[in-house]
């Protein structure tokens, strides 16, 4: 029974990778390298570089914002924690479409934050905050932050409270203790989280498109674009394979860090 249930998903995965190798899908079931050759163009190189840089930036920002937050969260009363967790899960469940819609509204000229600021008298007139790099960054950080927090949560919730207490008795202020004790103690967790958020951010297929200009488009956007609008399945598949390899190697890295941490 189990075998049947497992052939299905497994089969799909295998079949999928099979297809990509063949550059099949919709068009000529041919075995060409031309799709992969396109990787070597400066255009693609630019997109790749930008995607990596953006994902990295998002990961760092999220962890920098999220780590202190998760730490504070884990120190709250259990009841309050539950309220926060429900809220975080609710935000996490939002699809990229909805987040894209919400932020595009928020950044728009007619229905956004600037309207609020104008109404409050802090600004002269409303302004469209998108499209732009800042908009893309904000949207992606918004998408990745709940994920970051929930990934950090187990480690911080299980953190030994006596570590901090010991630091306090030795004369460290709470902020000092946090920086000198908690952060180094969870160094591996932080690194692993940065990597996981990086992989997560790489998968943003809509936000760069809605909130940014074409120069802000990432690899995932291209994949979606090629697969659906340009009907160029093989190229999309090739890019996807590439993305998978990058993701898998990063995930593998995370596991290695985890193993090292467990052994320590």
């Amino acid at each position: 029974m189990l075998v049947v249930f497992f052939v299905m998903p497994f089969g799909i995965m295998v079949a999928v990778s099979f297809f990509r190798r063949q550059q099949g899908g919709f068009y000529t079931p041919d075995f060409v390298f031309s799709n992969y050759e396109r990787f070597l163009t400066p255009f693609f190189g630019g997109v790749l570089g930008f995607s990596l840089m953006l994902a990295g930036l998002v990961a760092v920002v999220c962890v920098v914002l999220g780590f202190p937050f998760t730490f504070l969260l884990s120190r709250l009363h259990r009841r309050t924690q539950i309220v926060w967790l429900v809220a975080l899960l609710s935000v996490l469940s939002l699809s990229e479409v909805i987040i894209g819609f919400a932020w595009s509204t928020l950044f728009s000229r007619t229905a956004g934050i600037t309207n609020l600021l104008v109404a409050a008298g802090l600004m002269a007139e409303p302004v469209a905050l998108l499209p732009g790099f800042g908009a893309v960054l904000t949207g992606m950080v918004y998408q990745a932050l709940p994920y970051t927090i929930l990934v950090l949560y187990p480690a911080l919730a299980r953190l030994d409270p006596t570590l901090l207490e010991a630091a306090r008795t030795l004369g460290a202020s709470p902020a000092r203790a946090f920086l000198n004790v908690v952060v180094p103690a969870l160094r591996d967790t932080i690194l692993a989280t940065v990597i996981m958020v990086f992989v997560f951010a790489l998968g943003s297929y809509l936000l760069p498109q809605i909130l940014g200009r074409p120069q802000h488009w990432t690899l995932s956007v291209l994949i979606t674009d090629q697969a659906i609008y340009q009907s160029n399945m093989p190229f999309a598949a090739a890019m996807a394979v590439f993305l998978v390899l990058v993701s898998l190697s990063l995930v593998g890295l995370t596991l290695l860090i985890g193993r090292r941490e467990a052994a320590a």
């Binding site: 799909i12 504070l72 479409v97 919400a102 609020l116 902020a175 994949i223 697969a227 999309a236």
Partner: protein, 267 residues
Amino acid sequence: MTGRILRRAYLALIALFLAGPLIVVAGVSVNAKKTLLFPPQGFSLSWYGDIFTEPDWRGALVASLVLAALAAALAVAIALPLAWFLWRRVAPWARVFQLLGVAPFLLPPVITALGFLSFWATAGLYGQPWTAVISHAIFFVTLPLVTLSLGFAAVDRSLVEAAATMGADDRTVFRTIVVPLILPYLVSGYAFAFVLSLNEYIVAYMTVGFTMETLPIKIFNALRYGYTPTMASVTVLFVAMAAVVFGLVARFGDLPKLLGAWSAEEH
């Protein structure tokens, strides 16, 4: 204590950041006219009504609910035997299955969506509504798998042995001892998968986007082709639904534990 104020302020700031867009969207959703304005001019709940009265929005709503309900059920149905198997046989090669179960979630959704697209297209089944159910189920199987693994881990093995000494064979043990004990985890796994399926866009789009519209797909299309505050009201509805479901899970189960903390008694 400046420390306390700083802490509160930080939490409040993050809260504002997270809630901000939702507040704006909520505001837009009650705008009187069919434009997106914030702060809203006039007040109208008609856009919420539209979800249920306008045929295409209602159709999309029904499609989403049915898809989510079936996909979550299938995900649980796949995850349960797997988790049970992993718990019974603590074998090293069983880890492979564990990894396989978690895999769909680790990769960017685009990839998975594309993978399913290729698969169904080649199988000649592209576009059938039930392919979305299977795709979603496999994509989300990680969630019930994780909650069930936690549930099984919490079951004292000596209970199974005791039942055996009293004459229960494997199936009876499963039916009378294991299932009652992991039921809360089963339910929460279903709840997670349900909510995420409801909101999910890209996999649904790539598998059945041309034949069937779920609400996220409809919102996206509306984004491109015509704004209407109904989009906003749907968003608010979704968030509210998610909050309710997760709230229920929290009410009847141990949410922090499900997410990785110690249980209340352990610490």
